[in-house]
């Protein structure tokens, strides 16, 4: 023990870090901030540490070459001892890191922590969020599988819509004319060197600012922030109602970080690593690419926006969002901090959460995508076929053979791109059905060129049978006008 002390003294005499470190760790924080609500920032940093460690471990095996990356992931998953576990830790760590960063952001927003004098801390935080998202996207690319390949195509298509600079931007992003070896190499450089380096620098500044300016005090309704006297009030609060950061705040940070790491390990053990899915071979087109969880909302948005709005929303939306986030501390740098007196702040968070949640949920069952194999793989339930005439059965065959089922559900199965047809005969008359099938419209392709008259007649006579037992199908009143009732 004495030897350890001596050794410690020897180093400290040279490094002279002991005193400033002790001062930092024991600096007074307002008593209420030693709270479980203040643990997310440190947890995000801990998970980032886990990502760095597992990332370095993966880089020892991973081959950043378009021809080899997928194989090296297979080797990690199946041949290297516990390679699958390190991959799973890295993948789940990524999800947890993003989730914790978002929770941290919501917490500091609701606690008014972005107000004077912590504007720069908030701005650095916004960039940290963007970098974390950047790490998630580039990491998904390094898992060089089908989803990564076509995901890059989507990224390139979005970049290409930038006016004037679109085409060069695509070349810059891909490192050449197509998604290939150069693309993976540059995403590797971004994921492993550029973004992590920036992240470390920004995390350092972010934490430095927290230490310099003091942790945001627990907001009390009615205690307003004013530039003129805030600093003095804060220092009084920290002096009179302060406790040392260590151990009052630190032990909760440590416990929470540990719990999070355990959760990540549990997810990694239970669910295993993410992918890789099929090989990144563009010739394999039987694929339905999907983004990772945190980009699913974007996937839904891209499917649901009206076509004409898409490019403006894609190009202007992120800029506006960034301006709003960066401008926030300057627009409302003073005033009320407590979320109890900031209903619009609370509603904004709820609105954004509900919107993102809804989009994410929609993207998990993609009602906008045709079910590509429904025509051959999903039969029409028997109850829609029994008791039908031969021509109606023939119509049901046309329905399957012409892939109508890919977009329209009958009973349980089938696509949901178009409306379900269980009771279509109640909505549309025979003539309207013929018109809709032949001419399309309302987001349905026209089938006039691909159905001969016999097929059309059969199909429509089948569709005419799709109505509830006790309810008559719609009919054109003009056809029977003048007839005796």
């Amino acid at each position: 023990m004495r030897l350890m002390h001596k050794l410690g003294d020897w180093f400290d005499q040279r490094l002279q870090l002991g005193a400033p470190l002790r001062e930092t760790m024991e600096h007074p924080i307002p008593r209420e901030t030693a709270s479980w609500a203040y643990v997310f920032g440190s947890a995000a940093m801990t998970v980032f540490g886990l990502q760095v460690v597992t990332g370095i471990l993966l880089a020892m095996i991973y081959v950043p070459s378009a021809g080899e990356a997928w194989n090296s992931l297979q080797i990690l998953n199946h041949q290297v001892s516990l390679g699958w576990f390190i991959r799973a830790l890295h993948g789940w760590g990524s999800n947890f890191m993003l989730a914790i960063v978002l929770v941290h952001m919501v917490q500091v927003f609701l606690f008014g922590a972005y107000k004077f004098p912590r504007e720069l801390t908030w701005i650095l935080g916004i960039f940290l969020l963007l970098m974390t998202l950047g790490m998630a996207f580039t990491g998904q690319v390094l898992r060089f599988d089908q989803d990564a390949y076509w995901g890059l195509g989507i990224g390139a298509s979005i970049a290409s819509r930038v006016p004037v600079l679109g085409a060069p931007l695509v070349n810059l992003m891909l490192g050449g004319p197509i998604i290939a070896g150069a693309t993976l190499s540059r995403f590797f450089a971004l994921h492993v060197f550029v973004i992590p380096g920036l992240l470390m620098a920004f995390v350092g500044l972010h934490v430095l600012l927290v230490l310099k300016l003091g942790i945001n005090e627990w907001p009390m309704p009615g205690r307003l922030v004013r530039r003129s006297d805030y600093l003095e009030k804060y220092h009084n609060l920290a002096r009179t109602h302060g406790v040392p950061f260590m151990p009052y705040g630190v032990w909760k940070d440590a416990v929470f970080s540990g719990v999070i790491l355990l959760f990540i390990a549990a997810c990694a053990l239970h669910f295993g690593p993410f992918g890789p899915s099929g090989q990144p071979d563009p010739r394999v087109i039987q694929t339905a690419p999907r983004p990772d969880f945190f980009f699913l909302w974007l996937y839904a948005l891209l499917s649901l926006l009206p076509p004409a709005l898409e490019t403006p929303v894609l190009l202007i939306g992120p800029v506006l969002a960034l301006i709003v986030l960066l401008g926030l501390p300057f627009v409302s740098g003073e005033g009320e901090k407590s979320w109890k007196r900031r209903p619009i702040a609370v509603l904004t968070i709820l609105l954004v959460a509900v919107a993102l949640g809804t989009f994410t949920n929609l993207a998990s069952h993609t009602p906008w995508s045709p079910v590509m194999d429904a025509g051959t793989g999903t039969p029409i339930p028997a109850k829609f076929l029994s008791g039908r005439t031969p021509i109606q059965i023939q119509g049901a065959l046309v329905f399957q053979a012409k892939q109508c089922h890919n977009c329209h559900a009958i009973g349980e199965g089938g696509g949901r791109r178009g409306p379900a047809l269980d009771v279509v005969a109640v909505r549309l008359t025979e003539d309207q059905l013929v018109r809709q099938v032949l001419q399309g419209g309302g987001n349905m392709p026209a089938y006039g060129k691909n159905l001969n008259p016999a097929e059309t007649t059969a199909l429509v006579s089948f569709l005419e049978t799709l109505h509830p037992a006790g309810q008559a199908p719609a009919h054109d009143a003009s056809r029977t006008a003048g007839e005796q009732p």
């Binding site: 070459s65 378009a66 021809g67 080899e68 390949y149 076509w150 195509g153 989507i154 390139a156 298509s157 979005i158 970049a159 290409s160 930038v162 679109g166 085409a167 060069p168 931007l169 695509v170 070349n171 810059l172 891909l174 050449g176 004319p177 197509i178 998604i179 290939a180 070896g181 693309t183 990144p280 071979d281 563009p282 010739r283 087109i285 039987q286 694929t287 690419p289 996937y299 891209l302 499917s303 076509p307 004409a308 898409e310 906008w368 995508s369 045709p370 590509m372 025509g375 053979a401 012409k402 892939q403 109508c404 890919n406 791109r417 987001n443 349905m444 392709p445 026209a446 060129k449 691909n450």
Partner: protein, 185 residues
């Protein structure tokens, strides 16, 4: 502690040193920027596209649409399978062809051909196209991207080499099916 006269002299040296480093920085910066921008031009005057053969015309029966693949004209050994690019070849009749890019004109996902319904469908966001590549429904704002083609010595050649995207589509020429395509023999 500074000596007044000496101070301004050192100050001037510092300024000269900074100016010198600025010049060195620019000198090093130009090649770095050119290196970073190299994918935009690739150092090639005509761009990335060139004529490639998709194989004998007989592989594509009249009235049918079939998947063909080609090795991208610009490829490195490290590209692996990613440089093997598929495309849809529609043989209308005679020497009249349409060659479509595999990429949906919306966001680039691979479209699949359904001969029974005569539609190309996209698995991602639900875009659909008619047999001639025209937009049928869904989010795409235009028809499928179409490659220029010519028939040389009984082989179908297309002009390709770059990922077609909505932004770069100006370089991919759209040929209306009614007029047919110019044939170079």
């Amino acid at each position: 502690m500074s000596v007044p006269g000496d101070f301004s002299r050192r100050q001037m040296f510092l300024k000269i040193a900074m100016l010198f480093n600025g010049v060195v920085g620019v000198f090093l910066g130009i090649p770095i920027v050119r290196y970073l921008l190299s994918p935009v031009t690739g150092g090639r005057k005509p761009g990335y596209e060139s004529w490639i053969s998709l194989g004998s015309v007989e592989q594509f029966p009249s009235g049918q649409t079939r998947l063909a693949t080609y090795r991208n004209p610009i490829a490195q050994s490290s590209d692996g399978q990613t440089a093997d690019i598929p495309c849809w070849v529609r043989h209308i009749d005679g020497g009249s062809f349409q060659v479509f890019a595999i990429n949906c004109a919306h966001l680039g996902c691979p479209v699949r051909w359904f001969p029974q319904s005569g539609l190309f469908m996209c698995p991602c966001h639900g875009g659909a196209y008619y047999a001639d590549g025209a937009r049928a429904s869904g989010p795409p704002e235009r028809g499928l991207f179409e490659y220029k083609f010519k028939i040389l010595d009984g082989k179908l050649h297309i002009q390709a080499g770059e990922l077609p995207t909505p932004g770069s589509s100006a370089r991919i020429h759209y040929i209306t099916p009614s007029t047919g395509s110019p044939r170079c023999a």
